[in-house]
């Protein structure tokens, strides 16, 4: 009599033993189980033995079955690879599509990881903050004065250590080699490296004695500077280098990739001299500050305490600027924080599109292979087997695409680091590493699942509904394409507006040298007079057409705002007028900038040297002061009565956002002194109009300025055109990114339309043949094909236009410089989508028109 097996044993046998064995094996086990139980004194032990036996049998069958499946899969892979090889065009198209998707995503990940995710290469980087100055009127500046830095340092000592630095452009050489091109150097407080928690890779960093007045000059250099500039010196420690003509001994080399601030190659120690400067009533807001928050408090509360104590200390010291903090990573990443995730999301969408496309191609090809599949089915292959076949082909495509994509990503990252990395802070050094490699693997998996899943689902569906699902895929692609084109159009339109804007002056061939005045000038009432010899010397240099100085230069800082009252104007009217920007200039500024005077005259050298109460106003302010009759009228500014001597054309002062503010030009340094506030210069620039495109002008100017060390020190050389370009870097980057994505999206969508319509034409060859036989013209056939394409286009476009306003809103919110959407953008997008659909339809329609009715019907 048979005895039921222990439950676990029975279950094991049930799930693993194939049907043909089931009865036989269960019977054997039951017989044995009965015998054992009868013999054994411990039924539980007998049950354990029989269960173990069942487990062994189960394992045998499971491995046998796994082996069989593996063998079948191997066969499928071989067959799929051979099938792909037979249609190289199709395989190449699908692999390219996936490769592009994987490459773009991996590149984006590597950059995002570098900029937003990877920890900064400093000790406990979460405790590092950038410290900015916030004025009572709410204005925030990254550049702060050394006086403020000292006030904050003193008050915040117990809860934070604070360091300051200033980046300048210097000429660095060893020995008597020729003067090299200027490079970025940072004058830093000696504690900067301690605040960062950054140790030297070689030698040491600064200690408290470095940077003291009278101490020998010491310098820390970046590893890449050592290798590129002093390759002959195996050990750079102790090397004496010349920085802008002064000698410094190299004491240390920083580790690669940890340069702070990024891009700097040389560090020179310099203690702040705020107290001294304050006594001399001269301030120059040129320092940036970074702090490490100490103590156990959480980041948020530590920041709050820092700002609160700093505010109190600033108030007690009678200072306008209170410290505010920003996590260092956020400060360094800047707007990339908002832009990168958006770009990445767009790239992710393109990736899904690419997968949908590959799946569509696969489906279309399967339909084309309908006869083969029907034959297989009639030979007994179940739909599941065919689906497995298709899935294997999809996975194969995904893997091949991902492999090509990885190589492409490596190349893209190399191009990026050479071309664009400068525009994205912290992005330098983004490369394929373990993280991005893992990400690419995960992407491959996603692609495989998406492609194989979509294609398999397609195969398992009846043929009639396959067209419908293909249509949905393509319509979705078109909708995404609309969104990408809208984003690209908005960023592009914004950039174009900026490029077309007439700044009012001529930025070409204008060399700009940024300066810092010497502290000894503080006691002089009119600093401008001290600069005159330098200006004269520069004007005499061959190739220089005009030269002048200004304290505010577009397109970065717009000039201080001051209320003014024009003689004869009612105080109420003056209060309601827009704020006026004050800009200090020397004689010759308007000529150097090629900023035409519409009436009146420029300041004379004497007026500037004496700081006379004269002003040149721009056309906007002139409109308020009586147009051309304004010449000779007087106005109050900072409590001083000044006479209008000239009217200048309207020109951009700060960034484009500041455009429209009226401007009042005064002799450099005169206005502020009259107000008794001390010279508070935020900037000082030399503008030099070059008569030729010669490269020697910037170098000659730099050398001449080094010769005037008693009045100024150069902090950077550039051209005004570069400065103007620099503000367009963000919109240009956005336009590049979204433009490329829109083009790719367009290509993918066109490919999708092509695949779908080709598929339809192929499926309806018989129908077309009959129509032609019944007298339909070729034009009719083309129209028929086009109608099918347009139906998909219409739904895709409609869906796209529904999401487009949302895309526009996000773009306006996150992308600086993006234009506001208008009907024109949407109309252009719609036309673009129609072009894409047409491009996708041309070849299939052509094929449909050339269907030969006789042959087609014969073959059926």
């Amino acid at each position: 009599m048979n005895t039921p097996l222990p439950r676990v044993a029975a279950w094991l046998l049930r799930v693993t033993v194939p049907e043909r064995w089931a009865d036989s094996i269960t019977g054997d086990f039951e017989v044995e189980w009965g015998a054992r139980r009868a013999r054994s004194r411990w039924p539980r032990a007998a049950a354990a033995v029989i269960t173990f036996d069942a487990l062994v049998v189960a394992a045998r069958f499971a491995t046998e079955r796994g082996g069989a499946l593996a063998e079948a899969l191997r066969r499928d892979v071989r067959e799929s690879a051979r099938a792909l090889g037979r249609r190289p065009g199709y395989a190449a198209a699908a692999i390219t599509v996936i490769a592009l998707g994987v490459a773009l995503n991996t590149t984006a990940f590597a950059i995002v990881d570098r900029v937003l995710l990877a920890p900064l290469p400093y000790h406990e980087p979460d405790r590092l903050v950038e410290v900015r100055g916030r004025a009572a009127d709410g204005g925030e500046a990254r550049e702060v004065s050394s006086v403020d830095v000292e006030v904050w340092r003193e008050a915040l000592g117990p809860i934070a250590s604070l360091a300051a630095y200033q980046v300048e452009h210097v000429q660095v050489r060893a020995g008597a080699e020729p003067m090299p091109a200027p490079m970025a150097a940072a004058h830093v407080t000696p504690n900067l490296f301690a605040v960062l928690g950054l140790d030297a890779a070689l030698g040491r960093t600064f200690t408290g004695t470095d940077g003291r007045l009278g101490a020998p000059g010491t310098a820390v250099i970046a590893g890449h500077v050592w290798r590129a500039r002093f390759p002959g010196h195996a050990d750079p420690i102790g090397l004496v280098i010349e920085v802008d003509g002064r000698s410094y001994t190299v004491i240390g080399v920083t580790p690669a990739g940890a340069e702070f601030p990024p891009g700097v190659g040389v560090w020179l120690a310099r203690e702040t001299a705020g107290a001294r400067l304050r006594d001399m009533r001269i301030e120059f807001a040129s320092l940036r500050a970074v702090a490490r928050l100490l103590g156990p408090a959480g980041l948020a509360s530590a920041r709050a305490e820092f700002e609160q104590r700093g505010r109190a200390a600033a108030g007690a010291a009678g200072r306008d600027a209170a410290p505010v903090t920003l996590p260092l990573r956020d400060a360094l990443a800047g707007t990339a924080r908002r832009v990168l995730p958006l770009a990445w999301a767009a790239i992710g969408v393109v990736f899904v599109m690419a997968c949908a496309n590959a799946a569509g191609l696969l489906l279309a090809r399967i339909s084309a292979r309908g006869r083969e599949l029907r034959m297989r089915a009639s030979l007994g292959a179940s739909r599941v087997v065919i689906a497995r076949h298709v899935a294997v082909e999809g996975v194969l495509l995904a893997v091949a695409g991902a492999a090509v994509g990885l190589a492409l990503a490596a190349a893209m990252l190399r191009v990026f680091s050479r071309v664009e990395a400068g525009r994205v802070p912290l992005a330098a050094g983004a490369a394929l590493d373990a993280g991005s490699f893992t990400f690419a693997l995960a992407l491959t998996l996603v692609a495989a699942v998406l492609i194989a899943g979509a294609a398999t689902a397609g195969v398992l569906r009846p043929a009639a509904r396959r067209w419908a699902s293909g249509g949905v895929l393509v319509a979705g692609q078109l909708a995404i394409c609309v969104a990408l084109v809208v984003a690209a159009a908005l960023t592009g339109a914004g950039l174009l507006t900026e490029l077309r804007r007439d700044p009012g002056f001529d930025p070409d061939r204008l060399v700009v040298l940024s300066l810092q005045p010497h502290a000894s000038l503080a006691r002089r009432p009119n600093t401008a007079a001290a600069y005159q010899p330098l200006l004269d010397r520069l004007a005499a240099i061959d190739g220089i057409a005009a030269v002048a100085m200004t304290d505010h230069l577009p397109p970065v800082t717009p000039g201080r705002i001051a209320p003014i009252l024009i003689e004869g104007e009612s105080p109420a009217a003056a209060a309601g007028a827009p704020p006026v920007r004050l800009i200090g200039v020397t004689h010759g500024y308007f000529a150097a900038m090629r900023l035409p005077l519409e009436a009146g005259r420029d300041f004379t050298e004497g007026e500037v040297a004496r700081g006379d109460a004269v002003a040149v106003i721009d056309a906007r302010l002139a409109a308020r002061a009586g147009g051309r009759d304004a010449i000779g009228r007087r106005l109050f500014v900072h409590g001083r009565l000044v006479e209008i001597v000239g009217i200048a054309r309207e020109a951009q002062v700060g960034s484009p956002a500041d455009a429209g503010d009226p401007v009042l030009y005064q002799p450099l340094g005169s206005g502020a002194f009259a107000a008794g506030a001390g010279t508070f210069l935020t900037e000082l620039h030399l503008v030099v109009r070059s008569a030729t495109d010669d490269d020697h002008v910037p170098a000659a100017v730099h050398t001449a300025v080094l010769g005037a060390a008693d009045v100024v020190r150069p902090t950077g050389v550039t051209t005004l055109a570069d400065r103007m370009w620099a503000t367009l870097a963000a919109p240009a980057f956005h336009t590049t990114v979204f433009g490329v994505l829109a083009v790719l999206g367009g290509l993918l969508a066109a490919l999708g339309v092509y695949g779908l319509v080709s598929h339809v034409v192929q499926q309806s060859t018989r129908e077309l043949g009959i129509r032609l036989a019944l007298g339909a013209t070729r034009a009719h056939i083309a129209a028929l094909v086009a109608r099918r394409g347009l139906a998909v286009a219409a739904s895709g476009l409609a869906a796209g236009l529904v999401i487009a306003p949302a895309v526009a809103a996000v773009a306006a919110n996150r992308l600086d410089g993006a234009a506001a959407p208008d009907a024109g953008v949407y109309a252009a997008t719609a036309i673009g989508v129609l072009l894409i659909v047409t491009a996708g339809c041309v070849s299939p329609a052509w094929r449909a028109m050339r269907v030969d009715p006789v042959n087609t019907l014969k073959s059926e």
């Binding site: 048979n2 064995w21 009865d23 094996i25 054997d28 036996d53 062994v56 069958f61």
Partner: protein
């Protein structure tokens, strides 16, 4: 060339004739060769040999003592006989002239 396990199973089936079902095959191998094989190995090997066309199988009549469950009974097919003969010949050829006493062990 057959594997050792396959040879043993085929030979056991050949010896058992009509009564060749899994448990009997296992017992036969144990009795004659002194080799204790796991049940799973027997089932799977029988399966594989059938797939290769060396064995044929049928279900026995339901057996009362087994709770009405049938056995799967195997018999040698001509291909199986040929395979056994090939193996025997191959081994005989290999053995010919081998004197183990003279073989030097490494």
């Amino acid at each position: 060339m057959l594997g050792e396990l396959e040879q043993m199973v085929l030979l056991a089936v050949a010896r058992l004739g009509e009564d060749a079902y899994a448990v009997a095959v296992r017992d036969e191998i144990h009795a004659q060769a002194g080799v204790d094989l796991s049940r799973g190995a027997i089932y799977v090997t029988l399966d594989r040999l059938e797939e290769k066309g060396y064995l044929g199988s049928r279900f026995s009549e339901p057996i009362r003592e087994r709770g009405g469950k049938a056995r799967r009974c195997f018999r040698l097919k001509p291909a199986g006989t040929r395979a056994l003969q090939d193996s025997q010949r191959a081994l005989a050829n290999l053995w010919a002239g081998v004197n183990l006493a003279k073989v030097r062990l490494p």
